[in-house]
């Protein structure tokens, strides 16, 4: 079995199984915990439901904080959107998803995929440079840097494979798939879980404040 075969076969499949099991373990392990009851009378009888708005409204910082959070917000959005488009938009990825699920859709042109991948990687660098430049603000842990490396590797190797730079194409591709496998397997055990937590976390705070008649 070549490295590429290993990557395409057992490695990526094992990683996906670990990812799904890890998501389930971590989500259920937290969400089955009891909910503390706030017995106080809400300000408005049905006002608490308004709290769910926070899940959506917190997608962009409030006017009060637009200036101070602009860099982080804009760069983070550029990164997330570019990455998401590359993940679901280029031919080899769609083929991989189709092999797993049978679903497929039209792909974007290659040049666009390369451009978006480059933008995603560049924005990732823009984020880490700021993190390194302002240690007081970020209070970074080892986990923050490991997560950055694990996210950056598939992007870097993917672009290199696509552009035929570095090692042999087959080797680069294998490294790209292996680093993606690492990302999948690492996700549930890292801060990358925020992909799920943000919904619950925002909703909880939204509800707690809406209970008092405060819109956050």
């Amino acid at each position: 079995m070549s490295l590429l075969e290993f990557a395409r076969g057992p490695a990526i499949h094992a990683a996906l199984i670990i990812m799904v099991a890890g998501f389930a373990l971590r989500l259920l392990g937290v969400l089955v915990l009891t909910r503390g009851a706030d017995m106080s009378r809400p300000r408005d009888a049905f006002g608490n439901f308004k709290g769910y708005r926070t899940v959506f409204s917190r997608a962009w910082p409030a006017g009060e904080f637009t200036t101070t959070t602009r860099y982080q917000t804009v760069v983070a959005y550029v990164f997330h959107i570019a990455l998401l488009l590359v993940i679901v938009g280029i031919v080899p990825h769609i083929e991989f998803i189709q092999s797993l699920t049978g679903l497929s859709w039209p792909a974007m042109p290659n040049f666009l995929g390369v451009a978006l991948g480059t933008i995603a990687l560049a924005s990732l660098f823009a984020l880490i440079f700021r993190r390194l430049a302002k240690p007081a603000i970020y209070n970074s842990t080892v986990g923050d840097y490991v997560a950055w490396v694990v996210v950056a590797l598939p992007l870097l190797t993917g672009l290199m494979a696509f552009a035929h730079v570095g090692l042999r194409y087959e080797t680069m591709l294998a490294l790209h798939i292996l680093s993606s496998a690492l990302l999948f397997a690492y996700m549930p055990f890292s801060k990358l879980m925020h992909a799920f937590w943000f919904i619950f976390s925002r909703a909880q705070s939204g509800l707690a404040y809406a209970h008092k008649g405060v819109r956050i």
Partner: protein, 466 residues
């Protein structure tokens, strides 16, 4: 007699009140209790408290932080110092370590790779849990995950009670309230004495200990032992409105050092007699004195099914606002430009935004909002008991400069506050910085602007006689 009050002050000015109280606060440190349990018991108590208080909400919040640093933009203590340790996200680090080792679904892993938590970790966290977090909740407003750091810090305060690591000032007041039921000696006798003083010297009647009343009003330690003007103003307004009201010596204290220190059982112990007294007198409304944290202690007390109570609880500013909106408060116009400071506990973490503004409107006030107001208001830096902490002096002084800047930006000549803690902290900041602004408490401002006429005189007579 009642007209004489306008010209001869019965009580000292708030400037003197602050100076007197500062002396008393200085003595608290010597009265602080020493730890009684072994270090092992203290550590176990702290960890067990966190395990017990951690529900899915807390777990999700602890799991959600991505260290994006946005919260540092919102925190007055971080903004004032720029020091990494005061970043709001840091304030939950120890809690998260306990959570990861004891509760998290990944605890088997964290026990393998992380060191056990020590009592010294809690000792070091004291500065983050007490001195540098007023639980104002401003960081929640910017956090992309919406993490409610203030709630997590409050659970940490509970753990600190179990670890016997409450700062000396709060520990002393907690023990006083727990053992003697008083704060700074504000006993039922002190209340009676104050009521007598107000009757004899100001000619204003306070219906103490009535059997039945529509409105039960609370006082606070600051009013009873230092600032008599607060209670005097409350009485003037209630009598002016002709309300059937009372203050009960079996439930009058707004201040709750259970809540401030993190002692949940004392919190409850302090609330129960107030609720009982209000039910006994058949009150329809319970008015909480201008004591910020008393609002969450009572109105938003999560342990109290307040929907089932036969009365409504409201903060002084809410009560005044409702009266103003109903057109019951006839007030003289307020001269000059003013701004209003929303106390964290009644504003962002309480939701009483409109009512105090309605009161100012009833005074035809030229109200200029602070640049960051309502939900986004900057904490004055003295909330959640921090005003009392000597170790927090630098943090308080530095963060208050944000408040000075904000107020100066409005061009207002005076600031209206509706919280004794905020007011004391503002007064401290005003004196230290030789700041040229005037400070007003909302309730005292209203009392000073009442339009006295025949109907109000009748109301006063009725209120006093009832």
């Amino acid at each position: 007699m009642s007209t004489a009050t306008a010209t001869t002050p019965v009580f000292p000015t708030f400037e003197q009140v602050y100076q007197g109280l500062a002396g008393q606060i200085g003595m608290l440190r010597e009265m602080a209790p020493q730890p009684t349990k072994s270090d092992e018991q203290r550590l176990k108590g702290a960890v067990d408290t966190l395990i017990e208080e951690t529900n899915a909400d807390e777990a999700v919040w602890l799991e959600s932080c991505i260290h994006c640093g946005q919260c540092t933009n919102a925190c007055h203590y971080f903004q004032a110092t720029g020091e990494a340790k005061y970043a709001p996200m840091r304030k939950m680090d120890l809690y998260r370590r306990v959570y990861q080792r004891e509760i998290s679904p990944m605890r088997w892993w964290h026990r393998l790779v992380s060191k056990p938590v020590k009592l010294s970790d809690f000792e070091e966290a004291s500065e983050l849990i007490y001195d540098s977090c007023s639980e104002c909740g401003r960081c929640t407003m910017v956090c992309p995950m919406g993490i409610d750091t203030a709630s997590l810090v409050h659970h940490m305060r509970s753990a600190m009670v179990a670890a016997e690591l409450v700062p000396p000032e709060l520990a002393a007041l907690r023990m006083e309230q727990k053992n003697m039921g008083t704060v700074f000696g504000s006993s039922p006798d002190a209340l009676k004495q104050m009521v007598d003083t107000i009757r004899e010297q100001a000619g204003v009647e306070i219906p103490l200990d009535k059997d039945k009343a529509d409105v039960m009003v609370l006082s606070s330690a600051v009013d009873l032992v230092a600032n008599g003007n607060g209670l005097l103003a409350t009485a003037k307004i209630m009598n002016h409105l002709g309300i059937d009201w009372t203050i009960r010596s079996d439930g009058f204290e707004s201040a709750n050092f259970g809540l401030l220190s993190g002692d949940m059982s004392l919190w409850k112990h302090q609330v129960d007699p107030i609720i009982e007294a209000a039910q006994k007198v058949g009150a329809k409304t319970l008015v909480i004195a201008e004591c910020g944290h008393a609002y969450p202690a009572l109105r938003w007390n999560p342990m109290l099914s307040s929907g089932e109570l036969p009365f409504e609880m409201m903060y002084m500013s809410e009560f005044l606002g409702k009266q103003a909106k109903a057109g019951n408060l006839k007030l003289r116009p307020l001269e000059g430009k003013v701004t209003y400071h929303d106390p964290c506990k009644t504003g962002r973490r309480g939701g009483a935004f409109d009512e105090p503004r309605a009161v100012l409107k009833a005074m035809d006030a030229d109200l200029v909002e602070l640049p960051a107001n309502k939900e986004y208001n900057w904490c004055c830096g003295g909330g959640a008991g921090i005003f009392l902490l000597e170790n927090a002096t630098r943090l308080r002084d530095e963060s208050f400069k944000i408040k000075i800047r904000e107020v100066n930006d409005t061009g207002a000549e005076s600031v209206v506050v509706s919280c004794a803690s905020c007011r004391l902290n503002f007064e401290a900041g005003r004196q230290k910085n030789h700041w040229d602004k005037q400070l007003h408490s909302l309730v005292e401002l209203v009392a000073d602007h009442l339009i006295e006429d025949e109907t109000t005189a009748r109301g006063q007579a009725r209120g006093a006689a009832a």
